[in-house]
């Protein structure tokens, strides 16, 4: 890993570098445009070059709608999901990785196949079920869904725990540790990278989820994702959408996702890579 081949400016390499720069520009361009167009005057047409620096658009993004209330709702849903799914997925992944039991392989095949199942097929019947139980406009869908863990996270944890040497576990067993003690005192402290990966991905999923809250919650309890897709930014008495302020809100909305990714980048990249290759 350490020995890096040196990069020489041969003609081939220069062409490749130029291609990389062009592609980077293309991929960054929409982000650049978003920033430029969030700072222009209200109702002005889209522009490529900056025509103004009205930072107050970002303030309007948080005051023209009940932005902070929606954000608080987003935070609540994310916390519920983080507290439940990160924890139980680890426990389940550990059991699949380290404990021999009859039926283990069949059950793990079921975990994998739920990853392929289109979510939409179960979403509507679940909605009907929750409606009948009286779970509409409560956090139960998130709590229960979280306790059940997530197939992909279980898979990540299993891959991670499978790679830990057997000797560690045997030493603990000789010392008379129970299975739960072994998990808690030996495996959990080692699992920071995978916990970080799962936490970041879990946050991204819940933060960006539009449709689940739309189905289960009433408007007052919408998180930002759903609110931004249902409510538009309009000035008093005007029907016209203020696109500058909408884009500003879109930028604010994506900042937490990008920040958490950068914080956990080292682990997330590793996590995706190991699952993709070994899976």
């Amino acid at each position: 890993m350490k020995a890096r081949a040196t990069w020489r400016s041969t003609p081939g390499n220069v062409v490749i570098y130029a291609l990389i720069l062009i592609c980077s520009a293309i991929f960054l361009f929409p982000m650049y445009l978003a920033i430029v167009n969030s700072l222009t005057a209200w109702y002005s047409p889209p522009t490529i070059v900056p025509t103004g620096f009205r930072w107050e658009n970002f303030a309007y993004a948080t005051t023209l709608i009940a932005f902070w209330r929606f954000m608080r709702n987003s935070v609540i849903l994310c916390l519920i999901s983080l507290a439940t799914a990160t924890f139980t997925s680890g426990l389940v992944g550990y059991a699949f990785a380290r404990i021999q039991a009859p039926g283990r392989n069949v059950l793990f095949m079921i975990v994998l196949s739920t990853m392929m199942l289109p979510g939409i097929v179960t979403q509507i019947p679940t909605y009907i079920l929750f409606y009948k139980i009286g779970f509409i406009d409560t956090y139960w869908p998130w709590i229960l869904g979280g306790i059940g863990g997530n197939a992909f996270f279980i898979f990540l944890y299993r891959q991670f725990f499978s790679a830990i040497p057997k000797e560690l576990e045997e030493a603990a067993r000789i010392d008379g540790c129970s299975i739960f003690r072994t998990y808690w005192s030996i495996f959990v402290p080692l699992s920071f990278p995978v916990v970080a990966t799962v936490a970041v991905m879990n946050f991204q999923n819940t933060w960006g989820d539009v449709i689940t809250p739309f189905m289960y919650l009433r408007q007052d309890h919408y998180p930002l994702a759903t609110a931004l897709s249902m409510i538009s930014y309009q000035a008093n008495g005007s029907k016209q959408i203020i696109s500058q302020v909408s884009i500003a809100a879109g930028i604010i909305f994506m900042i937490p996702v990008l920040v958490t990714f950068f914080l956990g980048q080292r682990y997330v990249v590793e996590g995706i890579v190991t699952t993709g290759v070994k899976g």
Binding site: W7, N13, I16, I20, C23, S24, F27, M31, L33, A34, N37, P45, P46, I48, T88, L91, V92, Y94, A95, F96, I99, Q100, A101, P102, I110, V111, L117, P118, I120, V121, T122, I124, P125, I128, L144, G145, I147, G148, G149, I154, S178, I179, F180, W207, I211, L228, S229, M230, I241, S243, I247, G250, M254, L258, F261, Q265, V269, G276, V277, G279
Partner: protein
Amino acid sequence: MTEKNRRIAAFYLMISPWFLIFLFLGLFPLLYGLYLSFTNYYGFNMQDLDTVGWHNYRLVFTDTDAMYALGRTLYYTAVTVPLSTAIALGLALLLNRHIPGGGVYRTIFYLPSLVPVISTILMWKIIFSSNGGVLNAILGLFGIEPINWFGYDYATTSLIIMSLWGAGGGILINLAGLKGIPRDLYEAASIDGAGVFQNFRRITLPLMTPIIFFNVLMGIIGSLQVYLQPILLNGSELLARPIQPNYMYVVHAFQQIFASQRFAYGMALLWVLFVVILALSIVVFITSKYWVYYETDQER
């Protein structure tokens, strides 16, 4: 023996949260939905449901809206999946050369796939806007007449372009796959006088097929379920109908269920999609034998 039984008990105890919720929120809704698709459930008649046999399914195949939407969805998938797979592979190939600052570019390519859908859509609305939109301004520099990107002729193209912006999502897996190709293969090839393109065709591409296979399969499953992007790119309300060419299959199902309360029919629509996804996945799996290269010593 007791030790063994204790371990078995611990296993089942530890997986029980997942297993119970899987039964309650996975398997049960799946079968319940299947059952509902054979009834006349429309939201208020839970007490006196009638089973109607295959009626809802016959309706799906005679519903011109549903068939049109299925066609559009298959078209969208057929264009998006190969293109995004190729883009993700191409970008990974570019970065697989110890480029100075490679990590930064990797992040730049990967970043768009992280941006939440809502933010993505808000961004691309400015680009496609016909009222002084950015894309038209750029095309204007090359003497191309302004295009109505939200209009009938180009709405799906817009949707595809926006989806391709997130194609870098596959780059991490691709890079890992490329790193896994043994260097000596290329060295042996270069001794035999192989060029860059021969290397790619004879070494890189065959050895990358398992990862390409994974990307294609996941891409198909995701693309067939597209609904948020087509709805919000044109409208600004979740129950709004997108412009006709972007009227995708799941959009139609959502319209039936949430706007018209046709729950039973909606479930039949979704089960048809489920079967289509399953069938396509099986086709990809079976044909993978012919185009996916697996090392012979798989049991490592």
